[in-house]
Amino acid sequence: MSATTSTARGIPGARKDLTVARALGRRRHLTNTIVKVACVAATVLGMVLLASILLSLIWRGAAGISLTVFTHTTKPPGSGGGLLNAIVGTLIQTVIGTAVGTPIGLMVGTYLAEYGRSSPLANTVRFVSDILLSAPSILIGLFVYEIAVEPFGGFSGIAGCIALAIIVIPIVVRTTEDMLSLITPALREAAIGLGAPKYKVIVQICYRSAMDGIVTGVLLAVARIAGETAPLLFTSLGNLNWSISLGQPMASLPVTIYQYAGSAFEDWVQLAWVGALLITFGVLAINIAARLLLRRGK
C-alpha cells in the first residue's frame, strides 16, 4: 500500500510535490528546534535552581560558621549559643534509627528476593513496602506519637529513633531486593552444589557479592533520615538543653533549624542557616559517596 504512494512521491520532477515536501521539512525541523531549545531551557532552569539553593546556603551559612557552633549548645537569643546538642542529637538518632531499621529491611529484602519471590504474601509485602517508601513522613511521626509518645507519657529520643527506623526499612528493602536479584544464578548454584544450606548461601555468598549495593542502600537511607524534620516534631520534639538521654526529648538539627528559622531573632536565624548548610552538605556528601560505591560495584 505504502509502496505505491512513496514511489509516486519519490518521482523526481514533480515540482509542486517538492515545494510541499520542503515546506513540510522546514516545519518539522522548526518544531524540532523549538522543542530542543525548550528542553535545554528546562534543564538549565533546573541547574540554576540547584545552584541557587546551594549558593544561598553557602552565602548565608558560611558567615555564621565558627568554633562556637560545634562547642556550645543552643542558648536563648542574644547569648551566643551553638548547635552542639542538635548535632549530637541528630547523630544519635540517625545512628540508632539506621541500626534498628537496617537489619529488618535486610531480612525483608532477603525474603522478597530469596524466599517469597512472587508468592501472594511476597507481592503484598513488596506493595506495602513501596507505599511506605513514599508515604508522607509526617504521618509516620503521628503514628509513632500514638504508639510511643502518648502511652509512655512524654516525648523522647527513643520515639524519634523509632520514627526514623520506620523510614529506613523500605529504602533498605528496595535496594537489597534489587541487588540480590542481580546475582548470577551460577554463583548460587555453585554454592548449593558444594552442599551449603540455603541460609549459608545467602549470608556468605549472596550478601558478599551484593555488599556494595546493600551498603549504598543503607547510605541513602542515612542521607534521607538525617534531614527528616516532620517525623521528629511529634516524637523527639527537640530540646534546647544538653541531653543525650533517650528517655528525654532530644534535639536534632532539622527541628532546631525549623524553630530557629521561623524566629524573630537575628542570631537564631543565622544559626539556622549554619545548621542548614551543615545538614545539606552532609546529606549530599553521603549521597555522592553512595553513588560512587555503586558505580565501583558495577
Partner: protein, 319 residues
C-alpha cells in the same frame, strides 16, 4: 561438617536443617512485620481521629470551619489547600521534568549526561526543610516584590484571572507553596521519566531515525507511546510526594483557616496544619483528634495516588 550433612542427608533432610528454618522464619517474619507496620499505621490514625469523626460526622470532610476556640473543626480548608497546591505544582512540574528527561535521554552529549543526571538526583536528595528555608528567605521576597505585583497588574480586568491573581502581594500563600513544591518534585519526576525512557529498545528508535524522523518525532511517536503508562506512574509518584510534603510548604503557605479565590492568599495544607497546630493541642483534646483525623484523610488520599503510581510503574521498571 556441612559437607558431611550434605553427603549423608537427602535433600529433604537438608532443607530441615535448623539454621535454614530459623533464617527462613526470620525473613518471613520481617516481611509480615512490614505488613503489620502499615496496618497499625492506618489503624492508629483512624482510632486517634475517631472522636473527631464521631463529633462532626461525615461533614468533617468538607466543613470549612476551623475554630479552636469554639472547638469546631473541619477538613475543608486544608483538603482544598493540599489538592490545590499539589495540582498547581504538577501543572508546572510535568513540562519541566519532561524537558529535563528528554534532554538527558536524547539531547545531551555523553560527557554532559552523567553530571546533569547526578545534579538532578542531588536536587532530589536535598532535605525538604532546606526547600522551606530557601522558599521563605529567597523566593518569598522575589514573589512579593517582583512577580506578584506584575501578575496582579497583568490580569487586572480579565474576568476569572482577575480573581485568581488578586490581593496584597505578601509573597507567601498557595501560589508560592505550589512553586516550592514544583522545585521539589521536578527532580523526582524527571529521574523516573529518564529511567522509563531508557527502557525503550534502541532498535525502535533507530528504525524511526532511519526513516528520517527528527528527534522530537522519535520522542512523540516512539518513546512516549511506548512509555505512556509508566510516565503517568512517575507523575503520580511526584503527585504523592507533593500531597504529603510538610516542611517546604509550612514555611511559605502563610497558615490561614479560610479559602480565598486568589492564589496569592494564605492557606493551609493537611501536612502544614498538623505541623503548625500540633504543639498547641493537648493530649486527648478534640483538636488533637481532629489533627489525627486529618492525618487519616491524607493517608487515604496518598495511598490511592501511590498505589496507582506503583501499579503503573512496576511492570516497566522492574521485571
Amino acid at each position: 561438617m556441612q559437607q558431611a550433612v550434605a553427603l549423608s542427608g537427602s535433600p529433604a533432610t537438608r532443607r530441615s536443617s535448623p539454621g535454614d528454618a530459623i533464617f527462613a522464619g526470620l525473613a518471613r517474619a520481617s516481611g509480615i512485620l512490614v505488613l503489620l507496620l502499615l496496618g497499625s499505621l492506618i489503624l492508629s490514625l483512624f482510632i486517634g481521629g475517631l472522636p473527631a469523626f464521631r463529633q462532626f460526622g461525615a461533614s468533617f470532610l468538607w466543613s470549612t470551619t476551623w475554630d479552636p476556640v469554639k472547638e469546631v473543626f473541619g477538613a475543608g480548608v486544608s483538603v482544598y489547600g493540599t489538592v490545590m497546591t499539589s495540582i498547581l505544582a504538577m501543572v508546572l512540574a510535568v513540562p519541566l521534568a519532561f524537558g529535563i528527561a528528554f534532554f538527558l535521554t536524547e539531547l545531551a552529549p555523553n560527557w554532559l549526561r552523567r553530571p546533569v543526571g547526578t545534579a538532578v538526583e542531588l536536587l532530589a536528595a536535598v532535605p525538604s526543610i532546606i526547600y522551606g528555608m530557601w522558599g521563605f528567605f529567597v523566593i518569598v521576597p522575589i514573589m512579593s516584590q517582583y512577580v506578584e505585583p506584575v501578575l496582579i497588574d497583568t490580569f487586572d480586568g480579565i474576568p476569572v484571572l482577575e480573581d485568581m491573581f488578586a490581593g496584597p502581594p505578601f509573597g507567601t500563600g498557595i501560589f508560592t507553596a505550589a512553586l516550592v513544591l514544583t522545585v521539589m518534585v521536578v527532580p523526582f519526576i524527571a529521574a523516573t521519566m529518564r529511567d522509563v525512557f531508557e527502557t525503550v529498545p534502541p532498535v525502535f528508535k533507530e528504525s524511526a531515525y532511519g526513516v528520517g524522523c527528527t528527534t522530537w518525532e522519535v520522542m512523540r511517536s516512539i518513546v512516549i507511546p511506548y512509555t505512556r503508562v509508566s510516565v503517568v506512574g512517575g507523575i503520580m509518584l511526584g503527585f504523592g510526594r507533593a500531597l504529603g510534603e510538610t516542611m517546604a510548604v509550612t514555611f511559605v503557605i502563610g497558615n490561614s483557616d479560610h479559602i480565598n479565590a486568589s492564589l496569592f492568599s494564605s492557606g493551609n495544607t493537611i501536612a502544614s496544619i498538623v505541623a503548625l497546630e500540633f504543639p498547641e493541642s493537648g493530649t486527648g483534646s478534640l483538636k488533637l483528634s481532629s489533627l489525627l483525623a486529618l492525618g487519616f484523610i491524607l493517608f487515604v488520599i496518598s495511598f490511592i495516588v501511590l498505589a496507582i503510581s506503583r501499579t503503573l510503574l512496576r511492570p516497566k521498571l522492574k521485571v
